[in-house]
Amino acid sequence: MKYTTFNQQSVNTLAEPMFFGMPVNVARYDQQRHSIFEKLIEKQISFFWRPEEVDVTRDRVDFQKLTDPEKHIFISNLKYQTLLDSVQGRSPNIAFLPIISLPELETWVETWSFFETIHSRSYTHILRNLFSDPSDIFDDIVANEEIKRRASDISRYYDDLIFATQLWQTQGEGTHTVNGETHVISQRELKKKLYLCMNSVNALEAIRFYVSFACTFAFAERKLMEGNSKIIRLIARDENLHLTSTQHILNLWAKGKDDPEMAEIAEECKEEAREIFMCAVEQEKEWADYLFKDGSMIGLNKQILCEYVEYIANQRMSAIGLDTPFDVKSNPLPWMNNYLNSDNVQVAPQEAEISSYLVGQIDSSVSEDDFADFEL
């Protein structure tokens, strides 16, 4: 079906599925098939923040004090997160918008992607502060084998869906030969690709960020790189919301509350979806291995980090109706919760309007004398 930016036919969006119905025409939210997406939009917008509001100047001093293995851990994580948000800042828009049929979902995807671009800008903000020329770090993202391997796994499902959608929208259903390669395009096949892609995105939001988050917060526990940790805390809060949205989409499908064909596909592809999740867990563990190859850091090692990945994987797999394959009973990194708790994320919307006001201010010049006249 050819895509149109303004579908002239009148459409009852209450009867449309989330994907592969009629293209959206009026961006209206007075009547909604799945009102959860508007609630997510409102929540996400209430989280708005700007990287420049967080003062990262002290981190430069802290960074110089880190050991070489610790520097490797810190910088590698930033590279990996830069990759993840580069993908997420564009792919939901390109892959999902052309096939979405509900205005509230369309706006949610746009809002979601926009926040990923804030994250991307924040990595530059952090790196500019640490290095006078951070270009080597960015250049390495497309040269580093460890990162490239993950990049191809993350982008594969998106690319597959995008290519098939393009063929479907220009050529229609049928068998098409492009550059000597034969592609069979049917709506059912497209829906399968969409289902797998959504699972891959869900695993990304659920698992892939958490090894880097744990390292960042482990530095913060030692009062190091605190500006960076303030930023990552804001990012973690956003990613949690994005995860909620992909969980909703997957569950709406699986429970037959949207497109009945997607419920069939969810059943049919359950094993493949589980495989995607398990593969992300495995890659995260390998990432922990790569991070700690030259030595670990205080408070964290490879084993405990892998246990944490398994612990959150159990939770996130059960949220989408999968089994809980790992035997981790209690939280191996209980202090992580202090950083993932949104009560501890400072928000002052009225103050965020003033560009000179620093929401994530860290008092960098307090001496012991300041407490001299303090008595308990």
Partner: protein, 90 residues
């Protein structure tokens, strides 16, 4: 007119029983008795504290955004309205 605080008996499967007051969220009440519950956001949008409600009813302090099944609750943003029987995943 404010509703006076009440306390309810909460039966947690395989853990034991606790009392919960209506002036706190269910999560806070359970934590006060030193029982571990998974949580992240404490605001109803992440779903980390998702718990099975086997018996009883709750009201929400904020609209829960995280996905929960019909028989599940989010302790971080709900208050008991009756005695409860719950099953905390572990």
């Amino acid at each position: 007119m404010s509703v006076p605080d009440e306390t309810f008996h909460i039966d947690i499967v395989d853990v034991g029983s606790v009392t919960a007051s209506t002036d706190k969220t269910l999560l806070e009440s359970i934590e006060r008795q030193n029982i571990d519950v998974h949580y992240h956001c404490r605001e109803g949008f992440c779903g980390a504290c998702r718990t099975k409600l086997l018996c009883g009813s709750v009201t929400y302090t904020t609209d829960p955004l995280a996905f929960i099944d019909d028989d599940e609750i989010l302790p971080c943003c709900c208050i008991p309205r009756s005695p409860l029987k719950i099953d905390i995943p572990r």
